[in-house]
Amino acid sequence: MRRIAVSASALLLCVSVVSAAAVKKYGKPLTLKEMTKVSDIYAKPDAFNGKRVKVQGPVVDVCSMQGCWIAIGSDKEFQSIRFKVEEGVIVFPMDSKGLTATVEGVVSVTVMSVADQIAAAQEMEKEKEAGKTAGKTVEKGKEKGAGMGAGMHAEMGGEMGKDKKPFDPKSIKGPKTVIMIKGEAAEIF
């Protein structure tokens, strides 16, 4: 009986060690115990503004240029929140996509004016152009008229060859609330 208990403990220890090794830690250690749902932050952004939170979810996007942010999928569909770190403090690898992240930081709620949104969109267009000319390959769909739905256009910036539309400042109708978590601690597994 004792032998079984010892073996079981050893096995448990091995599993723990292997599991721990599979978790990649970035930046400072996580400190909060309580987990906050991303959907709760979206439901009451003002209540969370400036508060420290720990959230968990799938990594659905990674900053492809500097690895300085990841987007975390919410517990509710069609929602994700950006976890932003200071440039150079943490560099998230691009192969984190699809893994699960636990991150900790302070919720930031800001209102972007129309002018700021236009500037940000134009900057993004510039980055995309730079990306295309240096290393990014975008192959056009082979079939004629391979058009994208509106949803994917919004997400992918309309990178489908002939369907690509230049950014139109008139498409921005008014100020936009931007919610993100600014932090310095993350674990990805």
Binding site: V60, M94, G98, G149, G151
Partner: protein, 185 residues
């Protein structure tokens, strides 16, 4: 051994030791300096393909139908719907973004650039821990190399002659730039 000989020995041997790291930091420095123009660590490839539109309306069924139509033969790490019209399927090295109404698919694959990826990881101190110590020692070694370098030669080519002009120019370069940047940049 007089101080100048010791200085030369230090400069020579630390210089030899610093060759490897100097190349790593130099090459990565050039790569990272232009990160606004390219991705220095990954080669991102985007390709497209087309499948039949997805008819299912429930999340689980949408994923099943998309996987069946894509015939990838690999279990995704995760799935996400950024909006009602799009399904993203995450695999180890690829992300499929499926436009549900049209069946158009964007496949994004990110491949680490050989050697450069590793150099950038070291340059940006991604590993942290012991590499922080190595990077600190290397930084100190560069300072030692700079100081000992000034006293390797004697005479008109040394720090009292040609060396004085070149060293002053090298010191003035960052100072002059910063003054210009503050007032005109």
């Amino acid at each position: 051994m007089n101080w100048r000989h010791l200085n030369t020995v230090l400069h020579r041997d630390i210089g030899y030791l610093a060759v490897g790291l100097s190349i790593v930091y130099g090459v990565s420095g050039l790569a990272v300096n232009h990160k606004a123009d390219w991705n220095p660590s990954y080669r991102v490839q985007k390709t497209t393909r087309r499948i039949d539109p997805i008819a299912a309306t429930e999340r689980a069924e949408i994923i099943q139908e998309a996987l069946a139509k894509l015939a990838v033969g690999e279990k995704p790490r995760n799935a996400f719907r950024p909006n009602p019209a799009t399904l993203q399927l995450f695999f180890k090295e690829r992300t499929f973004s499926v436009d549900l109404p049209t069946g158009n698919v964007i496949i994004e694959a990110a491949h680490p650039r050989p050697v450069l990826f590793e150099m950038n990881q070291m340059h940006l101190n991604t590993p942290k821990r012991i590499w922080t110590v190595v990077a600190d020692v290397y930084a100190i070694a560069l300072i030692v190399l700079a100081i000992t370098g000034m006293f390797v030669l004697k005479g008109k080519l040394g720090i009292t002659g040609r060396g004085a002009w070149l060293t002053t120019t090298g010191v003035l370069l960052p100072v002059a730039y910063w003054v210009w940047y503050l007032y005109f940049g």
